[in-house]
């Protein structure tokens, strides 16, 4: 599944899966004027970017991300609030 196959209302539930090399190539790069990619890892340690970053990308250098496979977004669990806290 790619971005264009996902209903707009469902976009927040999906993200684009990257290879490590792709994540490294995007980190800190502009996808839209004054907006920067922020590749992160999901619960399975997949490198991902959000559907918004894919949808809004207007940087000709990175239009290949429009064809990335989209997967459901499952975040890493949040850390304990404070060290030692359950």
């Amino acid at each position: 599944m790619i971005l264009s196959q996902i209903p707009v209302t469902e976009l927040v539930n999906y993200c684009a899966k990257l290879t490590l090399e792709q994540a490294d190539s995007l980190r800190g790069q502009v996808f839209l004027q004054d907006s920067y990619f922020n590749p992160i890892q999901d619960i399975e340690d997949n490198w991902i970017i959000s559907a918004q970053e894919v949808a809004y990308c207007a940087n000709p250098e990175f239009l290949w991300i429009k064809d990335l496979p989209m997967i459901p977004f499952v975040p890493k669990p949040a850390p304990a609030w404070h060290v030692g806290e359950a």
Binding site: L32, D34, Y36, I49, S50, Q52, A78, H82
Partner: protein, 282 residues
């Protein structure tokens, strides 16, 4: 429209004025003009220009403008116009210009995080850039969601925290950890994350938490000692080392010196008037 001609037109519309009034307007105008990376006027909408100029005027008249290190009006509807600091509208990290990372949606109503990857870096480090034991942070939120820390400076070294969160978890926690979470915190409850949230420290033994200028919880009088440890950059919408990213829409934010109760009350009125003039008040 060039910056020069637009500035001339604006000033012609607003004459005659005293010298001090013109200086105030020029501060507001400088922001409107420079909120751009193209050399063209950044904020072109006349209503938005008027709102920014009124914001500067009101903050100066209330004596709070000079207490600010960074003011983010989130006006203009794009990442470019939202990223500039009203107090120093240069496109530079040293001017505490925001850097937007991840999937934000920018509109005339502010900057909306996607809850997945979005946060903003102010590049302001409290220990280096603020006054010891006289500090505040504030943020205006337009949507009601559960989230975590709306603003946070953290250096991965507990318990040194400087943060504020409007509504978190099943207990609807409204909180600040203003220098540390062991002795200098307020944890209270709030069932609606919409509004203007602010924490202010006016001395090493006086810290408060406010929503819409109403104090929540008690004044914290424990003596804070660790200002020099606040070496993490202040982020909006995320904390360093955390996997949670904001899902909130921000429409105003400040960082600066500690604010008195009177300052907080005045700022609340000013910010709400500013939002109302833009048709985005909550």
């Amino acid at each position: 429209m060039s910056v020069r001609s637009a500035r001339y037109n604006l000033l012609q519309l607003r004459r005659p004025k005293s010298n001090s009034m013109q200086i105030i307007e020029l501060d507001g105008w400088a922001f409107c003009a420079r909120a751009s990376t193209t050399g063209q006027v950044g904020i072109r909408d006349f209503r938005q220009q008027k709102a920014v100029i009124a914001l500067v005027r009101d903050m100066k008249n209330a004596g709070v403008y000079e207490k600010m290190k960074a003011v983010y009006p989130f006006v203009g509807g794009t990442a470019t116009t939202h990223m500039f600091n009203l107090k120093d509208p240069r496109d530079a990290n040293a001017a505490y210009r925001l850097s937007f990372l991840g999937g934000w949606t920018h509109s005339d109503n502010g900057a909306l995080g996607n809850g997945t990857t979005s946060y903003a870096d102010t590049f302001l480090i409290p220990a280096n850039n603020l006054t010891a034991y006289s500090t505040h942070i504030s943020i205006y939120i337009r949507n009601d969601t559960l989230f975590w820390k709306d603003m946070s400076s953290f250096n991965n070294n507990q318990p040194n925290n400087f943060n504020i969160g409007a509504r978190f978890g099943t207990t609807n926690l409204f909180f600040t950890e203003h220098y540390d979470y062991l002795n200098n915190f307020v944890y209270n409850t709030n069932t609606d994350s919409r509004g203007y949230f602010l924490t202010s420290r006016t001395a090493n033994n006086s810290m408060k938490l406010f929503k819409n200028a109403t104090q929540f919880g008690s004044t914290v009088t424990s003596i804070a000692t660790n200002f020099a440890n606040l070496t993490g950059k202040m982020w909006i919408g995320r904390e360093l080392g955390d996997s949670r990213y904001t899902n909130r829409q921000y429409a105003f934010s400040t960082i600066g010196d500690g604010l008195t109760d009177a300052n907080v009350t005045a700022l609340q009125s000013i910010v709400q008037r500013f939002q109302t003039s833009l048709g985005r008040q909550v």
